[in-house]
């Protein structure tokens, strides 16, 4: 019921938005280069799909994101677990967050090119940077929200600090963990697209950001919108089919959230 409602609402608003867009496009107030009509955007998307370009580029981008996200996730879990166990480590992690979290990855770009070159490693570094800090913040908040009594129960059972983290703190803070992954995913997308638009394709086809950049330099404005539509669609699909399913299988099933 609740889900049906959400989809009806969403479809309704998308249709409203499309009608407004199309009427502005048809009214001729703006040049078709500024506001291309929906048919030309969809046609451009169709052309990019049949020549295979946009599919390969989407897969390339997704591959980079998954790698960056995985590395970011591992670093975040390790750092936040360690800082829950060792007090001195907590200070270090908090200092790192204070320094690194407000730094946009793109601002680090000149340094990253010097250190990692201009290839995929640099893009993955930017993704990891944009993912890891918000994820640690979320995990730490989650760990700290756990009632102390849970920890004490663990200690009474004779668990060592690592076991307390693994068996008590991680499951108990799972909703925060999930929220962290969601934020990380969104951050990774943004980082990836902007990095790709700066780096371009280091050989081969490049990713979605490169697709949009290329459309921009050749002034194919409907193509730019086609690229944006693909990004939005992937965002919606991942949110609806991966995160929501995962939530239902875990925290909702366990009765931790409504």
């Amino acid at each position: 019921m609740l889900n049906d409602h959400k989809y009806i609402q969403r479809t309704f608003w998308i249709i409203v938005f499309m009608i407004i867009w199309e009427s502005i496009a048809l009214s001729g107030i703006f040049s078709p280069l500024l506001v291309p009509s929906i048919q030309t955007i969809l046609y451009s998307l169709y052309l990019s799909i049949i020549d295979g370009g946009i599919i390969a580029q989407t897969l390339y981008s997704l591959n980079l994101i998954l790698r960056g996200l995985a590395v970011g996730l591992i670093i975040a879990v390790v750092l936040s677990s360690l800082s829950m166990i060792f007090k001195t480590f907590e200070g270090l992690v908090e200092t790192l967050i204070t320094i690194a979290h407000p730094l946009p990855g793109i601002a680090l770009l000149p340094l990253i090119i010097i250190w990692f070159g201009a290839g995929t490693n640099a893009i993955i570094f930017i993704i990891v940077h944009s993912v890891v800090w918000p994820m640690i913040l979320n995990l730490l908040t989650g760990f700290r929200s756990i009632p102390n009594i849970y920890k004490q129960v663990g200690q009474t059972y004779g668990l060592n600090p690592f076991e307390i983290v693994a068996y008590i703190m991680v499951p108990a803070s799972f909703p925060y963990f999930l929220a962290g992954i969601k934020i990380g995913w969104a951050r990774a997308w943004r980082a990836l697209i902007s990095a790709e638009m700066v780096f371009g394709a280091a050989g081969g086809g490049g990713g979605l950001g490169w697709f949009i950049f290329k459309k921009r330099v050749f002034m194919d404005n409907p193509g730019i919108f086609a690229g944006l539509i693909v990004i939005v669609l992937i965002g919606i699909l991942v949110e609806d089919f991966i995160f929501n399913k995962f939530e239902e299988m875990t925290v909702k099933k366990w009765g931790m959230t409504i």
């Binding site: 502005i24 107030i29 280069l33 070159g117 780096f199 050989g203 950049f213 921009r216 330099v217 050749f218």
Partner: protein
């Protein structure tokens, strides 16, 4: 199964209506700008090939030629940004190479070329001794240039068409880099094999030991061509004939100034670019500043032959304003 009460539907419709009217407000307020008597918005670009624009600004030539004109200089990152600003009428005049101009024209931008600005050395530089011509690149090599569709990319494609009969031969080994990034990466001899660039980067790179040029713009094109042209929107040209004429006159004066007083020009430019005067003088003596436009037909024919643009230029009056000095 009544999910939406009538009250709710009204609410939703109202919200939609509000959003729509907000959009319209945006349209209306946009058309009520521009109250100054004479106004011109020019893209200010740095780089030796754009030197006449800096001279025009520093010597206030435009202001002398048209009293009461308000010149607003806008700084934009790259050619694509300039094109977009001109499309949204935030810019009247922009300077760029011929291929990006033609790509915009092909996509329906209402603009034409006002004048040539400069012709300059441009070439493909590498540090690798084993590479002597474009035939020597392999799949693992990387060529850096500003962006696809840039004059550097088009000149490389022209050379590939001549050499291999395939203009896209090296499209998969390109890396997009700004000129300074490209130069630093080339000098580090790590990620890229070669760099297609223009002054002053081309001069700086060639000063280093072992760096050599394997292809020049002139070799690709087969003749001299204009590197940078000035383009003006139809709207500005038609609505402000006096300002347009004053701009053309001022640009010609700025070009003449550099040709006739290179030392004085170098002095002014040195302070703008924050470079030593002798260095600037040396650079500008290697660049030709002229208002003539060369190579337009050749670029257009190449671009349309290789589907970068959908149509060839059949009538030069479609892309040149009146009185432009075109050299066949």
């Amino acid at each position: 199964m009544r999910k939406y009460s009538s009250k709710k539907i009204i609410k939703i419709l109202l919200t939609g209506f509000l959003i729509f009217s907000l959009c319209l407000c945006g349209c209306v307020s946009k058309s009520t700008e521009n109250t100054a008597k004479y106004e011109i918005k020019i893209a200010e670009q740095y780089g030796l090939a754009y030197a006449p624009i800096s001279i025009m600004k520093q010597n206030k030539i435009m202001e002398k030629n048209l009293l009461g004109v308000e010149v607003s200089w806008q700084q934009l990152g790259n050619t694509a940004a300039i094109r977009e600003a001109m499309l949204s009428n935030n810019l009247d005049v922009g300077f760029m190479a011929i291929p990006p101009f033609l790509i915009g024209w092909d996509k329906g931008m209402e603009w034409k070329i006002t004048s040539g600005l400069s012709a300059s050395p441009i070439g493909l530089i590498t540090y690798r001794d084993d590479i002597e011509s474009i035939k020597d690149f392999s799949e693992d090599d990387r060529i850096a240039l500003p962006q696809p569709g840039s004059i550097q990319h088009i000149l490389l494609s022209m050379a590939c068409e001549k050499e291999f009969g395939n203009a896209q031969k090296y499209d998969d080994i390109l890396v997009t880099m700004s000129h300074p990034d490209g130069m630093n990466t080339l000098l580090a001899k790590k990620d890229i094999t070669a760099h297609f660039t223009s002054p002053p980067y081309i001069f700086k790179e060639l000063e280093n030991k072992g760096m050599h040029q394997i292809l020049s713009g002139k070799e690709s094109m087969g003749k001299d061509f204009t590197f940078i042209v000035g383009a003006t929107t139809q709207k500005f040209h038609d609505a402000n004939p006096e300002v347009y004429q004053a701009f053309v006159k001022s640009l010609n004066e700025a070009i003449d100034f550099i040709q006739n007083n290179p030392e004085e020009a170098a002095k002014i430019l040195a302070s703008v670019y924050d470079l030593p005067e002798e260095e600037v003088l040396n650079y500008i003596s290697q660049i030709t500043y002229e208002n003539k436009v060369r190579g337009l037909k050749e670029f257009a024919a190449f671009l349309s032959r290789n589907n970068y643009i959908s149509k060839d230029v059949s009538d030069l009056n479609d892309i040149l304003w009146e009185d432009v000095d075109y050299v066949k």
